[in-house]
């Protein structure tokens, strides 16, 4: 069981690495910000599996913290876009 879960951790981590490679290359900043979201899902899955494999139950709390906070970088990015639009004198981007 432990071997299977360890292999699964390695596999998901490798997928994460490949995804990061492709996202960070761009072309736009929106693509790059997705890297944080990618770690928000893939990283949490890795963390949960790792906690089970290494029998560290508190890893779930770290995953909970990451799940809560991984959104924040993306929100900061969106606010950046927002402030630029506002500076340009165009309407808020959250309009219908």
């Amino acid at each position: 069981m432990t071997e299977f879960l360890t292999a699964a951790v390695g596999f998901i981590l490798a997928m994460l690495a490949l995804g990061l490679l492709s996202i960070l290359r761009g072309p736009g900043d929106a693509d790059r910000v997705m890297a944080v979201q990618l770690i928000g899902t893939g990283g949490i899955a890795t963390l949960l599996l790792l906690g089970t494999v290494a029998s560290i139950p508190a890893a779930i709390d770290v995953a909970l913290t990451l799940a809560l906070l991984a959104t924040f970088a993306s929100i900061a990015f969106v606010k950046k876009g927002l402030s630029r639009f506002e500076a340009d004198g165009t309407a808020s981007m959250e309009e219908k």
């Binding site: 494999v53 560290i56 890893a59 970088a73 929100i75 950046k80 927002l82």
Partner: protein, 314 residues
Amino acid sequence: MSVATAFEIVLAAVVLGLGTWTIVVRETFSATVGFVAYGLLVALIWVRLDAVDVALTEAAIGGGLGGVLLLGAAARLWDADLMAMEAPGEVARASAAALSVLTAAALAGAVLLLPDPAPTLAPAAVANAWATSLSNPVTNVLMAFRAMDTMLEKVVLLLAIIGVWSLAPDSAWGGRPGPRHQADPRGVLAFLARLLPPVGIVVGIYILWTGADHPGGAFQGGAIVASMWLLAIMAGLADTPPVSRRSVRFILAAGPGLFLVVGLAGLLFGAAFLSYPPAQAKPLILGIEVAMTLTIAATLGLLLAGAPERSAEP
């Protein structure tokens, strides 16, 4: 080579790859995103090193608050990025590279040559856990055995916020920090900012509460609460308070103040500064932690909000 070691090598390679990307990439924004991703992944290494307390801190700071701080700064410096910055010449680069490689090699050598058996203070920390009747050794070290460090750390936070506030221009002295954020009250961001904070505050309190016996504690809990406050601010649901307000200053000083009072009481009635009588150690430590969580949440939120930019009256 076992499967587990292969996993560790992959993890180290991904983290190092992100670190390298952060340093060598041309645009500042990409570097910032790379560093936020790096901060999130380092939490995985800390879990793997069985240091879950640090992993929680790293996840809350590196991933959440640090990301907002750095990306916010990158966004506001947007135009500055276009300005040509003269890079150091070839010789300076080469010598910097040589110096860095030398430093890294020396550290790597030190890691490979670490003494065996490793020196450790863990047995002493475990053996003295009875003195506080808390079973999380890290909380014991932070709040009792090296409580002076933790108290001074809170003073550093206070000094940092005083430093940030002193950067306010005259017109906004004592006013509200940061710009007033606006968002559609029926939009996605406002929806998230209404849904997430109740959950986040519960999780923050849980992390504080569980810190007595399991990984967690005041700082990690406070950081989560602070980020929930920031979310409400960024969605335009709340505004930053004017920094001259009395209640704000009271909350900022409450944590270190209570710590200092308890420490002086130890000096007067007990053995030494910051010594707790064993019978009351647990309630005293928990009381300090609750006060510190509030202080930390307020301090971190205001640190991220930045220097006052608008006068207190709208």
